[in-house]
Symmetry: D2
Subunit: 366 residues, 4 copies
């Protein structure tokens, strides 16, 4: 099978780098187009990244020689698309929200599918916000989106914020098993890589906690509702629940977001043992279709009293599995647990690659 040519917009940033590292040996996709700010444009990727590459892993052999394009230069992208060097793009743009919004739409209008990590289009009503284990059927909105806008081939699909992975997938598994989740308290302890590079100054975080991350609580409370929503009348209508209260903290951890969760069921309440069985047995479309980036088991349970921990559990199953622990009753609600996921892989680039694999398998790409 010939690999699909992929572009990365924002290729020099933190998430862009993570995409390039993850795709270095991908069986379906190959990075053949890299774009960033005008400042970097024109340089070979390896040259632009000297002293700037943040990851322990390396880029694919052919990526180093690619010449960085200006992400605003749509003509260059169209040219690459016609030459077969650009089948779709991952957008990891770090620009003003309005600029991202219109630039992503411009790519899609030119027939180039956009899989975005940016938050700009997350609340656009006909844009699916995907976690492949949870709402793979939301891609049904893509033809509607294309028709409404008169786009041919191009479309926009997005992934949600990194902070919600470690509780939304478990919540969905409970819903799927027939248990309503009415309300949910979550306090997150988020790693510094979540804010990119240079991101959090070391003076703010060594021997410290910052109990605030701008915009994060709103995303953590709101995005799950769209993901659990229904397509109706050409738009994704958010679900009515669960109602969520999120408190988001930054802690001195490099990678891995931890979430302390209390949840309240509806009238039907599973036992702790049932909950454990539901989570251990949970599997979904990415597992059924055996997508390359999918973890074998999306949810891993740890029985030790002091797990999950970011440094020990974040890399589980290609850093794509969610690790849960401390499953126990709650004195106020019904159930408490701790969830952990890798924020720049499951929560960002890895989640984006899994979205692409889903879309490819559904026939939307390539």
């Amino acid at each position: 099978m010939q690999k699909i040519s992929v572009g990365v917009l924002g290729a020099t940033g933190m998430v862009g780098q993570q995409y390039i590292a993850l795709l270095a040996q991908h069986p379906w996709f190959e990075v053949r187009y890299v774009a960033a700010s005008p400042r970097s444009a024109g340089k070979p990727y390896h040259e632009a990244m000297t002293g700037r590459w943040q990851l322990a892993g390396a880029w694919g052999p052919s990526v180093g020689g690619l010449i960085l394009e200006d992400a605003n230069d749509l003509a260059a992208a169209v040219r690459a698309s016609r030459q077969g060097r650009l089948g779709f793009v991952f957008s990891a743009l770090e620009m003003e929200k309005e600029a991202v919004l219109s630039l992503e739409q411009a790519y899609a209008a030119q027939g180039i599918p956009v899989l975005s990590n940016a938050s700009a289009n997350r609340w656009t009503a006909d844009v699916p916000m995907l976690i492949p284990e949870v709402n793979p059927q939301h891609t049904d909105i893509i033809p509607v989106q294309q028709q409404a806008r008169g786009w041919k081939g191009g479309f926009i699909a997005v992934k949600p914020n990194c902070s919600i992975q470690s509780y939304l997938i478990p919540v969905y598994a409970l819903l799927k098993a027939g248990y309503e989740v009415r309300r949910l308290f979550v306090t997150t302890l988020q790693s510094v890589s979540g804010s990119g590079y240079p991101g959090v100054p070391s003076l703010d975080i060594i021997d410290n906690v910052v109990p605030y991350i701008g915009g994060e609580e709103e995303k953590s409370e709101g995005e799950p509702l769209k993901i659990l929503g229904q397509i109706r009348n050409g738009r994704i209508e958010p679900a009515a629940g669960p109602l969520i209260s999120a408190h988001c903290n930054r802690v001195p951890v490099v990678n891995g977001h931890t979430a302390c969760v209390s949840l309240e069921f509806g009238t039907k309440k599973p036992s702790i043992e049932e909950v454990k069985a539901i989570w251990t047995g949970f599997s979904s479309l990415p597992q059924e279709w055996d997508l390359p980036m999918a973890p074998k088991q999306p949810i891993i349970l740890r029985e030790e009293a002091n797990r999950p921990q970011p440094r020990k559990d974040r890399d589980a199953d290609k850093a794509m599995a969610i690790t849960l622990g401390r499953i126990r009753p709650c004195p106020l609600f019904d159930l408490r647990f701790v969830g952990l996921s890798h924020n720049t892989i499951r929560g960002a680039a890895g989640g984006g690659v899994l979205n692409a694999e889903l879309l490819k398998s559904q026939g939307y790409l390539g």
Copy 2:
């Protein structure tokens, strides 16, 4: 005024050191008796502490030359008491719970008041568990305690766990202002000094979070009820509420416990502005009596979006003030906020000194 002679049991441990540092220049108390495990006994304090003293501050000039006693050697304590070198003891013993329980009672039976940081006697029904701003009237149980046990002069009073300071004092201020608090979710991010020395291994906490602290959640949920309780029939009966769900985490911070709190009022609910006014204006007996260790203002509010932070706020007002921030509505309950307090000062030795000042002012010491 002649200073009261004070003993420190567990004088070589972390909290014991903190007591000795805090009392180095205290206007009412002077450390003249230090005791620890049999292993250290017989050595001058300065010699025993070479390479073991953990604090930036220093001990008082006369403490270095004191000879360490064996804390189990009751006869030595009685001798010191008769010679006027021991008016009461701070107990910061790090022994098995049963051993602490009986040793503290043995000191009290010999007429030596015991102000304890240990958890052993916290749930003894006739032992007051004190936060001077919250329940100074619980010392009324002391004569009952003495009479029931036939003790003359001696008694036991304890301080609660370090994790509850940053939310119980604010909750009490609301109760005092006439607002019932029904339920409370709290997630703590606790510093490593909370587990003493050597305590948390660095391999467990650098670039990591440990989402579990043995016994801490039970204490965080239960102790507030006793502190808010009433003396009835010679015992302190715990209050019925607020019901608390606590999730306790260890984070890579040296000093200072952070608490993310959501609380639900009873039918009468104050506005956010009323809550702020209540907290800013809160003052209690220690402030009224101008006790030396009391913060001028027990609760400090910060209006910046990203405060309180452990490294920047833990030392506020001799590290005895509670700093609050991010006061805002909660989508599920009524009110959310972040609280912070210094765990080895307000939450341990400083709180113990304030207890002693209260007891002295009430006529129970010296």
Copy 3:
């Protein structure tokens, strides 16, 4: 005595903040003029600093209300000077080197003495680079500087880089005692506050070391020679030795630079015991004149095997003392030791204040 009015250029930056905190209760100086970039100009200081103030300590009561001036606006400074609100300035400007160079000279030309933390004028031949314990007599060049440039009242004096404090003061004590120091190897482990705010990204330093700090090794090797130099023919001629090889690392520490030093004496070599006696007994002009910011004892020796340590020793004697430990023979050179000093206090603002106290006592200020 009426206090001298002081201005701080770069008042919103890290070192500027430290100046303002240190001068909050200074007996001789009072901050009455604050200036920063055009962006901040026009705002009251307290307003500009909301969410930006990095220190645990606070500013003086009258500083919050001062209106920030544009540091480039010389006319404003001259006006303040005429109105008695500006006796001299501390320059903590964070601008391009050339811009700092000319701006500092412009202030001096207007009759306003400049005490600078910037590196721009450190190698100007008639500008003294001062450590008051080492080369207080270098201020003799000030009249020469003023005459050569036709300045009246104004002059420039600078302080050296923060990295050299912990070995240059000990080396000077040995020189003063008659022992030539020929060669010196030093490896520094420097804290993140040394590069200001936002400075070092947390992604670069959590669970990491960065073995490079731009320009730092050159300063660490070169500046000691000027400080140990002689005034000759209207310029400060650098000393010929000791020859220094410096390796500078950034480590995950908030404050405090550690230096591992090996040094080689000339033909006359003191014993380890003599060295210890020289260092313990070392005292200089700031101690003799009892300057307010001077540590009682400039060099503190610790005998424990594992000291000095940044977190435990950086605050010794107002954070102005140098702490030394591990004094032992070197298998290659003659002597090894570890030195530690607080980089933003002794190495920056505190050192600057001490310079001002020296200059005031010598009659150059006020």
Copy 4:
């Protein structure tokens, strides 16, 4: 090929765990025997390790079910050896030096080869201390050792301290290229995993540096001389040089030791470019024989100004490569550089496995 059965003594400790993780999929060796302290003996390995396993990687499928033996129970080991379950042992014993010394000799006397990480036998004159890239020929002493002691089949070989890897391999490459290295200054910045678990208390190292590691400087100065020595008259005679001065620090890093090195050549001095060519081109027996654990290229050069860094470079080539950077002239000696190696893999268990592969290839094992 049938795999050789391997035992791990000290299988529950930090280095023991690392051995078990590294051997999970080794092509030549299989762990079939695990032993630890009497306290753990009798339990299945998986049970003993619940909550104690420190690594992100996992043990091999058959290891979890192995019953832990008492490492002192020689009879059990002999039995296993006769049953073919124990071809040789890796010793990662954490006991008193004298106890390790005699226990390792007892195993060898019973015909069981011992490859040790402990320091006990490092200075035994007929025991080779091996870095396979440097002194593979030192295994020639094994028959001498066996004959002198009357051992059949059994022998002892050891690996050196973790701190010396990052400078001794580069120094050896220079020696091999014909350049004498006379003197060497090294300052190490060592990670906390170097002292095992629980090891360094977090209170000692968060926001701190500890400028002392007991015994480490002596090992860092002395062990290179034995490794560079010659077999003469049935013993390994240490080399006369290079003379080394080592200063060893503990820093808040999880894994990876950094070394800042200055070295002085003999009369013949290579240029910086020659040095780089020697290091880039360096290859030795493990590469020639393509041993499974050998890095393809033992020394990796980084040209960026700020590398190597522990978090980014420690895992290079299975964490077995040494990464060097900042190669530049030294104002006092001839050459300066920074070296980095992974202390628990290259410096401990990985180095031990490479030793075993060397010994197997030379015919001493299996």
